[in-house]
Amino acid sequence: MSKDTVNSGGALQGVRVLEVSSLSGAVCGRVLADLGAEVIKLEPPGGEKARFDAPLIPTANGEESASWLAYNFGKKSVVAELDSDAGVADFACLAKTADIIVTDFQRLSLADMDRLEAIARKANPAVIWTEILPFGRGHEYEDMPATDTTLQALGGHLYLNGEVDRPPVRVGLPVGLIQAGAEASNAALMAYYHALRTGEGQRVDVSVQEVVIWTLLNTTMAWQILSLNEMRGGAIRKERANRFYTRLVWPCQDGYVVFGPVGGGGGSARMKSYAALLKWMAEEGVTDEILTRHDWNGDGQFAIPQEDYDAVTEVIKGFIETKTSGDLIARAVRDRILMAPINSIKDIHENVQFRDRGLFKPLHDEARGLDIELPANWVRMSETGLAEMSPAPAVGADTDALLADVSKVKEAS
């Protein structure tokens, strides 16, 4: 297959999505737009609140949200007051032409979701109504207040992060909300696939708490099987469900690398990685009996005493500290050592693998005076390319055109 065989038009060409959102709904819309759907944002006059979420950046319009711009390029915008009769009528007209509607709890109350879903369903029984809620639907807790950080906590991830002598620490990004948006995109598409084959529409709800639980990987099993509540760690922690601590973050001359040389579970890749490290150390005259005292990644790794893990770590740490991140990664890639640089944001922007793969796509935004790149090329599909880049819409940029279109549909029907 050649990269030239990609046809124009995304996999979701012809799919229309309405988005009544803040952050998480916009991320859902982002994924659908990337895959070729037409995504129409319904905004109140003056624009949705998320246009002013941190971090703010200067544009020709004044200050705008970097988060909003990053997740809303290439979409359309219609102004509709969803609590007025006229706005609801416009919403119903648009809903009739839509395949998927997306919303989230930071934008609409549950009562508004119910009201608007009923209107949409009446206009279009096959529509997929997609909603992102802190705890999902259908129980007495569905309407409790929550934020990304409370959901990192209630999803069990917060407890597991940070230094043992300080409070647990969050991931410093709204990861629950963003991941919930991505999850909503696939859940909505599953429902749309079903509607396409059967004509049956339905409601899909996503729980941010459950989304966060799916970042834990083995925590709930560790409790059930071993009555073990894992303890948080920083640079040094108990990896997987281990009983012993190993170092995972290693200082080098100019930054940090992540590396699990010993005791991290089985697999031949771990063993080969450790062997390659020892070979490199030996070439540079670094040898020590502790390095080969145990089969550090073999079947007996769970029985090795903590003091031996600590001792081998000291020797490896001494070696890594003499290297730059660039030296380490060049050798790691050459010899398949399981190591990666801890990239800063700037490192990501410059990273050779991202660059070579063409992750970043340029976006020229004339109206805002921006020439930027976004990490938009997140999947390669041989027959259906991703959408072309175009700027995020001004508030209501498409109101007249789209409402004129749907009113024609209305008259014709």
Binding site: A153, A187, V204, V249
Partner: protein, 397 residues
């Protein structure tokens, strides 16, 4: 009984570790027939990762593995055997989807790259998910999700500003990538439904995970500002932190975004004067005052009171708390499933609910090669003599 969304969909699943199996689990839990192909000489490596039942390592004893393999069938084949395609080729003819998550090049070595697959089955959709992507200078570099999280900025953004980055729990990029992979895969199914055309879907975990820092990448380009980890500090909030409560390792997040929430919390903690004085002194003074007030309090009682008062609060749940959480119970999040060697364990169900076509976790994870005979005879139509021949030649266990 409603049918699952993917009922009738056939999946040949070569994925291993976490990201790939989590994605194909969604297909299986929604009704697809997912056949996991393991090379019995090199089984899925997370079978070797804990927790193990009774704390005894064993190929069919890992809870880590089990949770990602509900509703799947498992077969064990020696994939490096020169005649492995005798079994695999009919499986490709049968399948709608082939999914794999090997280091790029492995499927080609077996004669199972996309160009070969489409010759066998022109409508096939193939998903390849790897850590770095199918090409580029790092494509052959082995790695896990902790490396993925480091490369995509998650580690840089987690921890205290005066400390090295804190590694977030888990192979974090393994949890991001399946969400994007399923969106792309389902879009490919939709395209095939409309046009009859299959295709190749190729993804990198680190590219999916980089979607989480898109705003920070934009901010960097426009303002030159590089986002940094900042502990639990949140700009603009009056209060945003994690505070100790009574008991061993009990913590709660508390947030006040506006004066109403602030006054409600101050009243709840019964210390408006002290809290206002601490707030005037700055963030550190405020955090330590709040910590003094919360330290003797029961975390769950405080959360309940905060919820009633409209103050966002969340106990930092431990694994045990999740299994006892009334919300998750009301949501039917956990699915008890019985496994011959592991007994009954509660598996994690999906984060989404479809109100007309709910997902259903149908069975516990397969033991290595558990369904080899069933799949080869019932699905692929081989005879007992065929199976005996495969075993004689070492293709099957």
């Amino acid at each position: 009984m409603t049918k699952g969304i993917f009922e009738g969909l056939k999946v040949a699943d070569f994925t291993w570790a976490a990201a790939g199996p989590i994605a194909t689990k969604q297909l299986a839990d929604n009704g697809a027939t997912v056949v996991k192909i393991e090379s019995f000489r090199h089984p899925d490596s997370i079978r070797l990762g804990g927790p193990f039942i009774d704390d005894k390592p064993g190929i069919n004893r890992s809870g880590f593995f089990a949770d990602f393999h509900s509703s799947k069938l498992g077969i064990g084949v020696d994939m490096n055997h020169a005649e492995a395609l005798e079994i695999i080729r009919p499986l490709i003819e049968w399948a709608d989807i082939v999914a794999e998550s090997f280091r790029p090049g492995i499927m080609k070595k077996w004669g199972l790259d996309y160009d070969s697959l489409r010759k066998i089955n022109p409508r096939i959709i193939m998903l390849s998910s790897s850590l770095y992507g199918a090409d580029g200078p790092w494509s052959q570099h082995p790695g896990y999700g902790a490396q993925g999280a480091a490369l995509a900025g998650i580690q840089h953004m987690t921890g205290w500003p005066d400390m090295p980055p804190a590694v977030p729990k888990g192979a974090y990029s393994d949890s991001v990538s399946p969400r994007y992979a399923l969106a792309a895969l389902t879009a490919a199914l939709i395209h095939r439904e409309k046009t009859g055309e299959g295709q190749y879907v190729e993804m990198s975990q680190i590219e999916a995970t980089a979607q989480l820092v898109a705003p920070q990448l934009l901010d960097l380009q426009v303002t030159g500002t590089e986002a940094q980890r900042a502990g639990n500090f949140k700009p603009g909030a009056i209060l945003h932190g994690v505070y100790p409560c009574a008991g061993e390792e009990r913590w709660i997040t508390l947030e006040c975004e506006d004066e109403t929430q602030w006054e409600a919390l101050a009243a709840l903690l019964n210390d408006a004067e002290g809290l206002n004085a601490a707030r005037a002194q700055g963030r550190d003074a405020l955090d330590s005052r709040v910590a003094q007030l919360t330290a003797p309090v029961d975390a769950f009682e405080l959360m309940k009171a905060c919820r009633a008062a409209g103050v966002p609060a969340g106990v930092a749940y431990k694994g045990s708390d999740l299994l006892e959480d009334p919300i998750l119970e009301a949501r039917d999040h956990f699915w008890p499933l019985h496994h011959e060697e592991m007994g009954t364990l509660k598996y994690n169900g999906p984060a989404y609910r479809h109100n007309k076509t709910p997902a259903k976790l149908r069975s516990a994870s397969p033991r290595l090669g558990e369904h080899t005979d069933q799949v080869l005879t019932e699905i692929l139509g081989f005879t007992a003599d065929d199976l005996a021949s495969f075993r004689d030649r070492g293709l099957l266990q």
